[in-house]
């Protein structure tokens, strides 16, 4: 209750939790509307839960964003049980986060640039994990297709995130946490 000496308050952590829950909801909803059987190439999806990741790096910072990504993947795994899917999400998510944080720090990029490089990095992370699991470089042949798709999804995610960010920060004009 005495939030003075803790770096992050319970208030902060609650907000992270809410966003983590939101990310989970988005990924479940997305899979309901676009079942992965529809797509010609495995791994092709919109990635709506990345809206949360994008918001988190601006709203909260590096460490909370990392936590959100990790916990989101962990809970999906706990309820879905598929180890391969968990490893893929984690690899993609962390790779995207890493790249997005770098671009965020260089002030020249808008949300669009950050998001596109994030989704491209997500793809690369997943393909590298696929190569690791199958112990062959064969999965790289999916790279061109998935990369082009990720550019588009990156732009879409950024477009969707902007109104949300504006709405969230409008509620607390004083401090932007």
């Amino acid at each position: 209750m005495s939030e003075g000496h803790m770096k992050y308050s319970i208030y902060d952590m609650t907000r992270w939790s809410i966003l983590t829950a939101l990310a989970l909801t988005l990924s479940v909803t997305e899979s309901l509307f676009f079942p992965s059987a529809l797509f010609p190439v495995p791994g092709m999806k919109l990635g709506l839960s990345n809206i949360v990741t994008l918001l988190a790096i601006y709203l909260f910072g590096a460490l909370p964003s990392m936590l959100i990504v990790f916990i989101r993947c962990l809970i999906t795994f706990a309820f879905g049980g598929n180890l391969t899917a968990f490893l893929f999400s984690l690899a993609g998510g962390l790779m995207a986060l890493f790249v997005m944080l770098i671009l965020r720090n260089i002030n020249k990029f808008s949300l669009f640039g950050v998001s596109v490089s994030g989704s491209a990095a997500h793809t690369v992370g997943q393909i590298l994990m696929a190569c690791l699991l199958t112990r062959t470089w064969a999965a790289i042949s999916y790279l061109p297709v998935l990369m082009m798709v990720s550019i588009i999804t990156g732009l879409v995610i950024a477009g969707l995130s902007i109104p949300v960010y504006k709405a969230v920060t409008a509620i607390h004009p004083g401090g932007q946490s």
């Binding site: 190439v41 092709m44 297709v145 798709v149 879409v156």
Partner: protein, 347 residues
């Protein structure tokens, strides 16, 4: 808008890898490999050949196995063996030269191994339920009743007339311990008449290889771990050889906590209590490999080693119940143990 973006993303062509993935089964024509997978002699068989006439060779091999099964199977009513069994106690039965020679060879192995190998073991196998998978543990009195029927020396073989006679009613032959080995030899003979460079034959775990591998090297033949179905204890690097393994782990049943294996001790009429978990014979003759793998298992470690020292016309690998692996010195340079910490003793 999202859906529009989606339909756009669906149009880019798949990678070249998917082309390879959706391509059909192995090309049968010139220079490639061909494989025949089928079930026969109550087990799974796989025959692969490399070379211009590979497909023809494996087709002929498969046909030959089916032919032998029809001739030798105890469960096929018209087979020569079934006829011999049906006529037990009723006089001689004419057979083909092939079957006659096979029975003759089986009897000679019976003699050589001091009765450890015996094709007249059929009544005992029926008693324990191994023939129809109705497993049961018979009473000692039942065993004693059929034991007199088990004796290869009682078979009457007339070479001039090419006939086989089982003099006592109730006697029956089961060539399960020699048929696959014989089939393997015949298959190799037939395949060598085709234009192929190499072949890999696996008849229910009886492995035979000849010729150099597609990449020019020697074949790597693993020996199954009797304790774990999906792993192996060692690898033999060789070609132009057969590796035949016998062990209780493949066919057995458990009743009241006791496991009864399908390898019988002909002297006792019950599953053999061996100090060996598996025996692998490495030799050029499939028949010898098949007969000896069962015999040496029945003999146990010490007698098996003594037999080898006496005959010396084959190599072998023995896995004991204590977890040690013994191998004959002839394969010292070509056999390696998987587990570097394991005990490998050459004799």
């Amino acid at each position: 808008m999202v859906l529009l973006l989606f339909s756009l993303s669906g149009c880019s062509g798949s990678a070249t890898l998917t082309d390879a993935a959706t391509s059909s089964t192995a090309a049968a024509s010139a220079g490639k490999a061909a494989t025949a997978d089928f079930f026969a002699m109550n087990t799974y068989m796989s025959i692969t050949a490399n070379g211009t006439e590979a497909q023809a060779a494996v087709d002929a091999a498969q046909a030959e196995v089916y032919r032998l099964e029809n001739q030798l199977s105890r469960t096929i009513t018209d087979s020569e063996i079934s006829q011999i069994n049906a006529q037990s106690g009723n006089g001689p039965v004419s057979v083909s030269k092939e079957t006659f020679d096979m029975i003759l060879e089986a009897v000679s192995y019976s003699e050589k191994t001091g009765g450890a190998f015996d094709i007249t073991i059929a009544p005992v196998m029926d008693l324990w339920g191994f023939s129809d998978s109705n497993f049961r543990v018979p009473e000692q009195t039942e065993i004693l009743a059929v034991l007199p029927l088990v004796d290869s020396q009682k078979i009457i073989l007339d070479e001039a007339a090419l006939s086989v006679e089982l003099p006592v009613e109730g006697m029956a032959l089961d060539l399960g311990g020699i048929a696959k080995g014989y089939a393997s030899d015949k298959v190799q003979q037939i395949m060598s008449t085709y234009d192929i460079t190499s072949a890999l034959i696996s008849l229910g775990g009886n492995v035979a290889v000849f010729g150099p591998k597609a990449d020019g090297g020697l074949w790597k033949i693993a020996i199954s771990d009797p304790n774990a179905a999906d792993s192996y204890i060692g690898i033999l690097t060789a070609t132009d050889i057969s590796v035949i393994t016998s062990g209780g782990y493949e066919r057995n049943f458990t009743k009241d906590g006791v496991t009864y294996i399908h390898i019988m001790d002909p002297a006792l009429g019950s599953p053999v209590q061996s100090d060996l978990l598996s025996v692998s014979i490495i030799t050029q003759s499939g028949v010898q490999g098949d007969c000896l793998s069962t015999s040496l298992f029945v003999m146990g470690k010490d007698k098996a080693i003594a037999y080898w020292q006496e005959q010396q016309d084959f190599e072998c690998v023995l896995v004991t119940t204590a977890g040690e692996v013994f191998a004959s010195s002839g394969i010292k340079d070509t056999f390696t143990l998987t587990d570097e910490q394991g005990t490998l003793i050459f004799f």
